[in-house]
């Protein structure tokens, strides 16, 4: 039985997998039709006909993950690491009968590589679905507070 705590735990667990670089386990959290979306506009509605920083299906996420470990992936020599500092997720919907589970989580994200350290702030919105006993990500939407700023490389996942 999915409840508010299950949803919150899922979101903490997701961040932990990213912070500990367990990429495969992280990919396994996605529904086969899942998407990862980083909009480029304030309260953006359309990921397809409006520009985004990322809008990736599972195939593209797998490419990213596989690339991180590649022998000739020079932008990962040295490797990046990341850290998520999450506020308690705000449960937007927890409707087991309708199968709708949504949460919004405010966070600070740090990505570091070599001597560099970059910090980003934003909100992650999770649309989850129940598959068997567990939850899967249908959509993870990442809204940066300064989505319109000119960033350097962002190589991992927020």
């Amino acid at each position: 039985m999915i409840n508010e705590k299950t949803i919150a735990d899922f979101i903490y667990r997701e961040a932990e997998l990213l912070d500990t670089m367990q990429w495969q386990a992280w990919l396994d959290l996605f529904h086969p039709e899942g998407r990862y979306w980083m909009p480029l506009e304030w309260q953006q509605q359309d990921p397809v006909l409006q520009p985004s920083l990322m809008y990736e299906d599972l195939l593209l996420l797998k490419v990213r993950v596989e690339r991180l470990a590649g022998e000739r992936t020079f932008s990962q020599k040295p490797k990046s690491r990341c850290h998520h500092l999450l506020q308690a997720p705000q449960i937007v919907a927890c409707d087991a009968a309708g199968g709708v589970f949504k949460a919004r989580t405010s966070y600070i994200y740090t990505e570091t590589r070599g001597d560099l350290l970059e910090r980003y702030s934003g909100w992650a919105s999770h649309d989850l679905v129940q598959v068997g006993d567990s939850l899967k990500i249908k959509l993870k939407r990442v809204d940066l507070v300064n989505f319109d700023a000119p960033f350097g490389n962002i190589q991992l996942f927020m």
């Binding site: 980083m38 480029l40 506009e41 397809v48 006909l49 409006q50 520009p51 985004s52 920083l53 990322m54 809008y55 299906d57 195939l59 593209l60 797998k62 490419v63 990213r64 596989e66 690339r67 590649g70 000739r72 992936t73 020079f74 932008s75 319109d148 700023a149 000119p150 960033f151 350097g152 490389n153 962002i154 190589q155």
Partner: protein
């Protein structure tokens, strides 16, 4: 310790036939001189008329270090000014774009200006009576950029009063812009969204050069495009249709022979493009209904001619790259000697199916975004170059690939697609536009 200022000969010595000195990328004084000479002497892209659709619409930009703005006046004309109040210098507009209504009003003391830049009103006007104000430059309002040309809705400006005319500067190279515009069944492009912005800690010229560097994709992008191809092969199962994403990544892995045969065309003044015979954009799948629209608009023969032209990257010297086949313009905006802001704009082909816009937006985030894995590959190399060039072991950058000793300058030619000639072409133009007004400066100082 001015080494290069007012010293045209010293600057010219940085560019040899097929080598350039590392100071062009790492020397602070050279960067300042580029801002002072190269950018004002060149025709610089300011924006697109579709960003100024209604009277009162404005956009802001920089030419070199100088803030400018363009606006649509009540009579429909477009004007470019310096973005600076004639009173005490406050920037009139600080947003990238907006609509000012009937007039611009300075936020400091409320001097106001018509949308053609002329002075409209000053509060307490009486205070200026008898002061000689009408004889000052301020009385003329916002300072105009005099040399402005709008070519098929692309707004270009040259800050220097003298120099090469727009026609002589671009010449035949404008055919890439023509092709991009002609790809709309209505012959019109529109900018509908903000650009993707990406900060590069490297010199701006590294980016410009990379646009026609065809010997790096199969090496540097093995990590991104190569992995994409590999993962797709493994995961595709029974699917026969290649997803749009894989169509966009895949061709980056084309072998050297592909790039050799696709060719490079160079033009005078540093312009040039890859993808003469074919390009990595050649084999994208058709978009339903588009060809029909093009045939209806242009006729069978012309429509095929337009769509058959699939140039890859066209460099408009000094700092934009136009990619007609996916409707993208990248603007390499110099911030410091080792810092460049890249703005990548997507244009919608007016009247064409949404799918084309979708593909252009996808290409832009796949290749040109701070979250792009292809971008990560490239930026890593630029940053390493910016670091490596500090080495005293060798102070020259080698651009000798397919160099011929009798190579002519400022000509039009089609050459082997893996040649470094377009880079040599750019550096010839670089030295020319850097120094073209320098002797005059010496005279003025004497």
């Amino acid at each position: 310790m001015a080494k290069y200022g007012n010293n045209a000969r010293a600057i010219e010595r940085l560019v040899r036939d097929a080598e350039v000195h590392r100071d062009v990328y790492v020397d602070q004084e050279i960067f300042e001189l580029e801002m002072e000479h190269l950018f004002p002497n060149s025709w610089i892209y300011v924006g697109h008329a579709s960003q100024l659709s209604k009277p009162g619409d404005f956009i802001t930009a920089n030419i070199g270090r100088q803030p400018v703005m363009a606006s649509r006046h009540t009579d429909g004309s477009i004007h470019v000014f310096y973005n600076r109040c004639p009173h005490k210098g406050v920037k009139i507009a600080s947003e990238p774009c907006g609509n000012t209504g009937k007039f611009f009003r300075c936020p400091y003391h409320a001097w106001s200006f018509k949308t053609d830049g002329s002075l409209l009103a000053i509060p307490l006007k009486k205070g200026y009576e008898g002061t000689g104000f009408t004889d000052t430059q301020a009385n003329e309002g916002l300072s105009k950029v005099k040399n402005v040309v709008i070519y098929r809705d692309f707004i270009f400006a040259r800050l220097s009063d003298s120099g090469v005319s727009f026609e002589d500067y671009f010449g035949e190279s404008l055919s890439t812009i023509d092709n991009m515009v002609d790809r709309s069944p209505e012959g019109k492009l529109a900018i509908e969204a903000a650009p993707i912005r990406y900060m590069h800690t490297c010199n701006w010229k590294m980016l410009v050069e990379n646009q026609t560097d065809t010997c790096h994709p199969m090496v540097a992008h093995e990590s991104s495009a190569g992995t994409a191809v590999k993962v797709w092969k493994r995961e595709q199962g029974d699917s026969t249709e290649t997803p749009m994403a894989v169509q966009l990544y895949g061709p980056f892995m084309s072998p050297y022979e592909f790039y050799e045969q696709s060719g490079i065309r160079i033009w005078p003044n540093g312009h040039g493009h890859t993808g003469v015979a074919n390009s990595i954009h050649s084999n994208y799948s058709d978009i339903d209904g588009y060809l029909g629209q093009m045939v209806a608009a242009y006729g069978e023969k012309r429509a095929h001619e337009i769509l058959g032209e699939v140039r890859h990257n066209t460099v408009y010297f000094p700092n934009i790259m136009v990619k007609g086949a996916v409707q993208i313009v990248r603007n390499f905006i110099p911030i410091a000697v080792d810092k460049t802001l890249v703005e990548s704009w997507v244009y919608r082909l007016v009247g064409a199916p949404d799918k084309l816009y979708e593909r252009a937006l996808m290409y832009n985030r796949f290749i040109n975004a701070p979250t792009s894995i292809v971008g990560h590959d490239d930026l890593e190399m630029y940053e390493r170059a910016q670091e490596g060039l500090k080495s005293n072991g060798n102070q020259w950058v080698n651009l000798r690939r397919l160099y011929e000793s009798n190579e002519e300058q400022d000509v039009t030619a089609v050459i082997n697609g893996t040649s470094e000639r377009q880079m040599r072409n750019q550096f010839h133009a670089w030295a020319k536009f850097m120094t073209m007004d320098m002797d005059k400066h010496v005279e003025a100082a004497e």
